[in-house]
């Protein structure tokens, strides 16, 4: 199986804190990898490093076998959906404007309608982005990430602040993108049940990687699930 992303001995240190410590794993073509871990586990740092936003790391990150520090070209093959897209609430951009921002080649333009339909937002094309619900906005950002036919889709806890109905719809869309369109997905989430249902691989991250493998191996191992649940429960209590 072709390796889409290979991460070797990735260590990221911020002043006084080690965000990631010697993390190594790889993602093969067609994988749907769910990354789980408590808040502050280094998930966003991991994504920032893969996406070239953080270049101060030790170790290597390869995309289709090439070191990502050699050229930024690889970014053209990645679609990224951030946790909460930050923009001015009254930014004068319609849904079509936003999706078009992602468009790198004019030739892909005719695909836009199809993508908007697939994501159930085709009727919103002329609405301003700021008028939509968070769930709808999130789907617009997925559409934007998809217009260039990415090989890899990266989503950072994409259901924060979205209603249950939108979450279900969102999950079914992800499933379809992975199974029908064969898009490799890396997705970080707090929702263990959803990861269990959707992902075929799981990575457990908390500064270090303490599990990476097929999701069945993780969810069939009560000890691992318990450990994870306790860790995130403590984290949860800590936050309240």
């Amino acid at each position: 199986m072709l390796k889409v992303v290979e991460i070797e001995h990735l260590t990221v240190e911020y002043p006084g804190v080690k965000a990631l410590d010697d993390v190594s794993f790889s993602v093969s073509e067609g994988d749907f990898l769910g990354i789980i871990g408590p808040n502050g586990a280094g998930k966003s740092t991991l994504f920032a490093s893969i996406l070239g936003l953080n270049t101060k790391y030790k170790g290597t990150i390869k995309f289709f076998g090439k070191d990502i520090q050699k050229s930024k070209e690889y970014l053209k093959l990645i679609g990224y959906v951030p946790q909460k897209p930050i923009f001015e609430k009254n930014f004068p951009a319609t849904v079509n404007d936003v999706v078009n921002m992602g468009l790198r080649k004019k030739s892909h333009e005719k695909k836009i309608d199809e993508i908007l339909q697939q994501l159930w937002i085709h009727e919103l094309g002329n609405r301003r982005i700021g008028e939509l619900s968070v769930g709808q906005q999130q789907r617009v950002f997925i559409a934007k990430a998809l217009v260039n036919n990415p090989k890899l889709l990266i989503l950072d806890e994409p259901v924060t602040g979205i209603d249950q109905h939108s979450i279900e719809l969102f999950y079914s869309i992800l499933k379809e993108l992975n199974s029908k369109q064969k898009i490799t997905i890396i997705w970080s989430s707090h929702d263990l049940d959803a990861v269990n249902k959707l992902a075929n691989h799981v990575a457990c991250l908390n500064q270090t990687l303490f599990f990476h493998g097929e999701s069945d191996d993780f969810f069939d191992n009560d000890e691992l699930v318990k450990q994870y649940s306790e860790a995130s429960m403590q984290e949860h209590m800590h936050h309240h």
Binding site: Y80, D97, G102
Partner: protein, 271 residues
């Protein structure tokens, strides 16, 4: 009456350069407003005042020195903001006041205020010469072409810098290019409304247009329309009633803004 006015060369030049500047300020200003950089135009204009004083003292055409000083200060302000983590509004304030201070000191050294200084402070669109008009048209053309060619890059990095970076856009280069173009636009526009009222052209038509709730292209078009209307009507009105063009233009622009707020609060406009 109006046809007679149009036959004057100075009026033709005023209208042509006024319309070009209106378009330019709308387009460049929209990106600045959306980046919460509304006062940036003001800061550059004030620092260019230092440049103008320098030119007048040295006997060089003041707008040339103004271009030089304002471009350098635009780059410095951006550097300070990026490198030393000074907030955008604070760095604007520093530049704004120090520009005027430099101007005042130079004027003091060279023997006090003259008519020339006032025409730069408040604009002198009816005095624009043929060469200035050509220069304004050329610059407008070049900047608009650059924006059209890099439209997606400008829009995306204004909308969300991080996502634009991830999509492979060199956001830093785009930012510098925008700042550079804003510097050129400001100094060019000094002839229309002067150093003190530049912000009005950058900001008012754009905040008005944004309120109409349309997409990006329509917002740009609306903003240009408001701006051109204010400039053209402002030039005519000021000539007929013999009042200052700069003030009239800005007040007309403010008038459209106030009407829009009125329409909105009556609930005729949604969003």
């Amino acid at each position: 009456m109006s046809l007679e006015i149009l036959s004057f060369g100075f009026m033709q030049r005023a209208l042509i350069s006024g319309i070009a500047i209106a378009i330019l300020c709308s387009v460049v200003g929209l990106f600045l407003v959306l980046r919460r950089y509304s006062l940036f135009g003001d800061a550059i204009a004030h620092s260019s005042f230092g440049g103008i004083a320098l030119g007048l003292m040295a006997g060089v055409y003041p707008l040339w020195t103004a271009y030089g000083v304002s471009l350098v200060s635009a780059l410095i302000i951006t550097r300070i903001k990026d490198r030393f983590n000074v907030s955008g509004d604070a760095s604007v304030a520093v530049l704004l006041s120090s520009g005027i201070a430099v101007g005042l000191v130079i004027i003091g050294i060279s023997g006090g205020f003259t008519v020339d200084i006032f025409s730069f402070l408040f604009g002198s669109i009816l005095l624009v010469g043929v060469n200035d008009t050509i220069m304004i048209l050329g610059l407008t053309g070049i900047i608009l072409i650059v924006i059209l060619v890099l439209y997606r890059q400008f829009l995306y990095s204004t909308f969300n810098e991080e996502q634009a970076k991830v999509s492979g856009i060199s956001v830093e280069k785009i930012n510098y290019l925008l700042i550079f173009m804003a510097g050129l636009t400001v100094v060019t526009s000094i002839q229309l409304v002067g150093v003190l009222l530049i912000s009005a052209l950058f900001v008012i038509p754009n905040v008005t247009a944004i309120m109409y709730g349309k997409g990006f292209k329509q917002t740009t078009m609306l903003s240009m329309a408001f701006s051109i209307f204010s400039v053209v009507v402002g030039i005519f009105v000021s000539y007929i009633f013999d009042i200052t063009p700069a003030g009239t233009i800005v007040l007309l622009s403010t008038g459209i803004f106030v009407c829009t707020i009125g329409i909105k609060s009556l609930g005729i406009l949604k969003t």
